[in-house]
Symmetry: C3
Subunit: 115 residues, 3 copies
């Protein structure tokens, strides 16, 4: 079976719409988005949220989960960086995980065919 991979991108909520469009452009066939809280341990540096510095290290973030097989992981990472990088702290982080299988419920298809 072809290798399947989960790419998790956690970034600023303001970037949600741009990131969705960017993923669409590179042929991603689905994604799951959720609202989370992110604790970045800045060790003294202060991240800004809507122009206000946050003392406590707990900020609203958006999490994208994207499972790919045919679309290369590197393409997703490169595209996400292009959209999300500002150079300021809090630009976000990408985590890559192994996936064992995918099933599309409507058709019963599995693996790459289910994506």
């Amino acid at each position: 079976m072809d290798k399947m991979t989960k790419i998790e991108i956690i970034t600023r909520p303001e970037k949600m719409s741009d990131l969705k469009e960017a993923m669409n452009e590179i042929g991603i066939t689905g994604m799951t988005v959720s609202h989370v809280l992110g604790c970045g341990m800045q060790k003294g540096k202060t991240e800004m949220y809507r122009g206000v510095p946050y003392e406590i290290s707990l900020l609203p973030k958006v999490k994208f989960e994207i499972i790919v097989c045919e679309v290369p992981v590197d393409l997703v990472v490169t595209k996400a960086k292009a959209v999300l990088k500002t150079g300021n702290i809090g630009d976000g982080k990408i985590f890559i995980y192994p996936v064992e299988n995918v099933i599309k419920i409507r058709t019963g298809e599995e693996g790459v065919k289910a994506l």
Copy 2:
């Protein structure tokens, strides 16, 4: 150690209660549920939400996370399909991931004993 597996089921919010009952019936010992947004890339086809067609591809979905060891993955998948399949687009998707360990905090038990 026995192989442990995470099964992630993403489907329509209306199915939340039925899916919970179905998992209970097959002896699942715990589950975690969250509200997410799903972007299905329908490439022109329109998914309905509460009778309204959605132009933008971002719909409320419910995500179930179930970690199993003794209950077979196939049984969970078969049962989920039985409850969730309508034949319409948007029935949902199942993702399978490897799990390295589980710990029950109250007892300190690990692995299959923690499930």
Copy 3:
């Protein structure tokens, strides 16, 4: 590349702040927190939420996701147990997963350098 691991801790919402501080103390460099619903299959035993027994097995829980490389998994687990264990049902569960890679968007660093 050094082994990277995801530690997922699901516990009572009241413990959110204590757990965050505890993780900070052991040098965790980031974490992601979300609100979820937990179905513990107590098979007859009743878990309490804000002093009220819950008939239906669906309770508000908080989920911490922590990706580590240099900080040992065992240290995170031991610290989490110390903060979360009350001896009552519902203390929480810890799930351990493999991670393939991590990328810090601001710097482009990968792997252990991105953590």
